[in-house]
Subunit: 509 residues, 3 copies
Amino acid sequence: MKNIISIKDLSIAEIDEIMNGAEDMQKIIADPFLLKKINSPLKSKITLFFAESSTRTRGSFSEAARRLNFDCYEISGAEATSLSKKESLADTARMFASKNQGADIIAVRTNTEGAPRFIAEILDKMNCETAIINAGDGMNQHPTQALLDLFTISKYFGRKNIPDLTIGFMGDLAYSRVAHSDLLLFRLLGVKKIRLVSMPEAKIQAKYKDGFTEIIESEDIKTLSDCDVVIALRVQEERYTDPMKRETIKGKFRITPKNINLFKKEAIIMHPLPNPINTGEIDPCLYNYNKGPKVIVHEQAANGIPIRMQILNKSYQERQFKNNNQTASTVELEKIREESAKECLEKQRNKKMEFFRPINPETGTGIIIDHLPLGQGIIVQSLLEKTIGNDILPIHTIKGVLSGKYGKKDVIIIENNCLILENNDLLATISLKYGERTTLHLVKDKMYRKFKLNPPIIIKKLLACPNPNCVTNHEPESTTCFHNKFPDLGIVECAYCEREFPSEDLKPI
Amino acid sequence: MKNIISIKDLSIAEIDEIMNGAEDMQKIIADPFLLKKINSPLKSKITLFFAESSTRTRGSFSEAARRLNFDCYEISGAEATSLSKKESLADTARMFASKNQGADIIAVRTNTEGAPRFIAEILDKMNCETAIINAGDGMNQHPTQALLDLFTISKYFGRKNIPDLTIGFMGDLAYSRVAHSDLLLFRLLGVKKIRLVSMPEAKIQAKYKDGFTEIIESEDIKTLSDCDVVIALRVQEERYTDPMKRETIKGKFRITPKNINLFKKEAIIMHPLPNPINTGEIDPCLYNYNKGPKVIVHEQAANGIPIRMQILNKSYQERQFKNNNQTASTVELEKIREESAKECLEKQRNKKMEFFRPINPETGTGIIIDHLPLGQGIIVQSLLEKTIGNDILPIHTIKGVLSGKYGKKDVIIIENNCLILENNDLLATISLKYGERTTLHLVKDKMYRKFKLNPPIIIKKLLACPNPNCVTNHEPESTTCFHNKFPDLGIVECAYCEREFPSEDLKPI
Amino acid sequence: MKNIISIKDLSIAEIDEIMNGAEDMQKIIADPFLLKKINSPLKSKITLFFAESSTRTRGSFSEAARRLNFDCYEISGAEATSLSKKESLADTARMFASKNQGADIIAVRTNTEGAPRFIAEILDKMNCETAIINAGDGMNQHPTQALLDLFTISKYFGRKNIPDLTIGFMGDLAYSRVAHSDLLLFRLLGVKKIRLVSMPEAKIQAKYKDGFTEIIESEDIKTLSDCDVVIALRVQEERYTDPMKRETIKGKFRITPKNINLFKKEAIIMHPLPNPINTGEIDPCLYNYNKGPKVIVHEQAANGIPIRMQILNKSYQERQFKNNNQTASTVELEKIREESAKECLEKQRNKKMEFFRPINPETGTGIIIDHLPLGQGIIVQSLLEKTIGNDILPIHTIKGVLSGKYGKKDVIIIENNCLILENNDLLATISLKYGERTTLHLVKDKMYRKFKLNPPIIIKKLLACPNPNCVTNHEPESTTCFHNKFPDLGIVECAYCEREFPSEDLKPI
């Protein structure tokens, strides 16, 4: 694991390796002489590319780098923003990378979701060793925060007891990447009981609730009274464009001396900070509260150093690895009939059909795409042109053919060309959009074969991500990639922004 | 002396130690091999937290850190500003401190007065070693600048001759923290003769003029003609919200080839810089002037490096010390009568008074606060509730009792509870506000005791600082603290922003 | 060569020394152990003072410094801008320089043209070792970019073949300092064939086209079809204040898969980057194009590291040198007549002239400036007062004297004072403005001498640069300096902003 991009990519073994490594890093923090010296006159270099403002995470990475004797180069705030506006993220990443400005690791924070994954792929393609760490991408993920949260909880309850804990979240869950990464991590580790307290406007997306046995959502802070761990989260003001909505959400949930005793005595209360003055989720006078639940926000923050040291260390050690996320579209044609051209022709004649009219099955070659929904023929034709090219001629797109099963349908007949059978992107896209009904008929070598399309697993390149904030909608060098996550429900997940969509929302690019 | 927060905190011995240390640092600047190597793989770390813009002081600290082989982490400008807006200064300081992001020293510049002292206390409370250096807090202090000014002057006139010098200031004295720190320093060292030239709108506050034997104020630059040292100061444009006023002050006093000869031939002319183009206090063509008074602004600036090296060095060496500024409110009750309950009751009956009506002095316990000014009873009651709590019951607040001495007065009678005698914050506050007339009557253990309140020395927590820019009016974790500086005049000084106020201007929080 | 300010200052030998040094630096990049250790506990320090935004050049200098084990201090963006607004560039440079904040080298990027040269002179005057590197000054020069472009081209075609290459530029040539520095460099190295493709609004200035044998300008990208090297350049949007104009220029020339084949198969296509998303000059999908012309923008960018390492190395090695650009005004008086006062007087009497009326040539002393254009007398008089002072009296400025040759003329007669003969600035200025016709008559020691003024070579101090963006129009400590580049055409060049002007456009300061 060279890159740390999403909790989704991590295995339990890898997570435990990070936890154990962080323990070692704490020993180095206590005694800097334990740090192994690198035998090189040139230090390792981390570049912090923070196109969204941050001081806490940035300072934490910077301190982690210092403790490891890394060089740290920072581009952040307005500068970093104008940078990625003027040029593509891909070019920006290439600029920082080891072949250009020497970054062994780039920690990237961006408003665009999926950007860290995209950047990692770009650098992989140019055989660049530079590792990518996601320091927060829009509303998607903040994996290093989740790992330091786990590290903090483990210190109080023990790593092996994590699955038995009741963990509560409070605040703005809709837009909190911390909540998202935390929940993915807790689910992976087998946590069963989750409590979620937020205003209706700031409820968490359904996908993050999957996989927990006992999940309670409410607008009442009392729902957290049986939690071992309470994670309070800041209102992501910058993401609420409607100022009225913003104000109703701000300061709604706040832990104060008056209500702290509704929590369990042994509970720990966490917050990724900042905890804004006056409107913050935790009254600062509770920082030293010692009569019950412990507010451990500063201890939690301090744990960012060993966790990020270990992540830097690991990413640096494994930086020469190539990632394997260069997947191709995957789809399967299932043959459902095969017969000689002659035989096939015979049958049709018997049925008085003129199915292959433009193709003589005994002498010609070609493909028929049948049973496309009415009006979709020209869409598929344009996909054909994008993938195979403009010169597959002649091509017949027939709108409104009568179908016994579907009323009216569209049919495409391609003469003299079977290339689409080799284009997985195209087949996966047709399969996803129209797969259930569409059949392919291949005429070749005096044989007739009929196929149906099985549900695709990965669909690349031809369909746009509906999330306007997804990196694939911003970067000229990007291509889209979807996982057919719940084929039965027709739900796909974007491999970059990690959002889920009904497959009918995906439009051709 | 771990922290450098205000000239007020320094002794002459400490100042001379800094001066001598800076001499040693100059030797290290000349020959870097003289720097003692620290036997650690981890360098010391200074974090520059500059919430007000600065490049000169910041660059000077950064270079001083480099010369000492310290790591230097900088957060400044817009970033630092948004940082302290989003979260409290206390949380920001905790974030940077050694237990979190590893700062052994934080140099802090802020618009809020008293912030460095507040931050130092916060870190002390959490037993954090991090030292705090004030790099300028609003209009209050800029102690490192004053120390480098002294270092510069000493090079020309000798440290021991400082008390005999005539020192002049020119420019915007009302808002110049440099003038403030310089004057406190010169007074401490025994300087007698001071000249102050400024526009009427930009005159210095009275408190900085105290303690000098011969002080001349004017609006005429010629007043500086007998000065050995002239310190020119920039108009603090950013502090004048009225643009008209700003324009009238700008460029008013300017040393040019035409008027330089009014100064003494041996005089040195200083300026903390920047010296703005065209409106600056010194015409740049005088930088190389060699026919009389010497303009030594760049030499002065260069002296910032050894001074700040020594300050960093000293703060680092002494970082494990705890500060002792965790003072408590101090006030003294003076017993003015003591008698048995019986005896006391007897007397009252003779005088036909019914003073203790709710308390039976022979069987009960309680306190009477007597002679409060008319209408102040409910204010004292609310202070009681804030300090002792809501459950001291029954409590009688009686408005408009007839008094022989004061016409009408308020009286508070507290049954069954004597806790206020142990609450110094409360007693000091009552003493400051109403001490001269107020008496306390204690009934307990069948004894009656009467007390008057002597003037308090330190008053904490219950009164607000009238300076809206004082840190205590911004930070939720702060508490106020006043020194009863001139009890006879009724003048107190805020321990944070260091401003003086009539005690009647202090309102309960 | 301590400073790198303009390609104009470099010799071919120096350029080749930089190219060879950069080769050595590439070896150090490949194997950091090859870097020679400096025997000092204090690293060399480079300060990046970037008053114009930059991330690419800045990051490249920063990485070069790191690879050389230099300390790097950065002031850039808004901070750097406000810095140079509040105080003069001269004071800013002094602040950073080695005697103050320790910079051995300052790399400066500024909007003001000529600023790097001015700063270098200021530091030289104070005997400061700090070297100056121009990292881009307004529309003038970007010499380190030109050197890395040459390094890149040499790798493909060999240094010795440079003169035979056909090199094309495409994009915004009017405002591109890269184009300017590149062209000066290619001309120096003997390149003959240049192609220039731009919109009419963005054509390059005439001076950069001088000296090439075969230069073709057009608005058609096809003009580049015979180029070995194509250098695409970004539209300098920030320099077009008219938004309409900006839009017409943006995205006008763009190399895409559709038109790439019009270039030679062996051509290399370069771009200093950034290459803006969507409107950039090169479609990013060509970055990996391998069927013809090579787009080598990232390789080119990577070459910035060894080039800048070598420049830092060289500047540091030679930092103790003084520059020799402290030239004086140079002009020559040519004696065209000499005779005794008596003889001269005799002649005049014969001609019935009363030329010397105020001066008795047999007893007096003085100078007559004759044949000034009508109305210019008072201008010359004011120049006299500025240079010699107000007390050269008596002085006669006579307007509208009848002249045989020029109709009406102005004449100035100065009694008892010949100082102007020693003031080269004044003589050079008079010579430049009126030299062709003006004569000087000297009466002294009973002799009469008549002079004409030969064309000056350097003209300093008294004439303003017509470029409002030239550093000499902003800095109070600056003086102007012009080279009389083409005396026959009446064209002078400013030594700072390097722009050319007709000498009649130069007005007295």
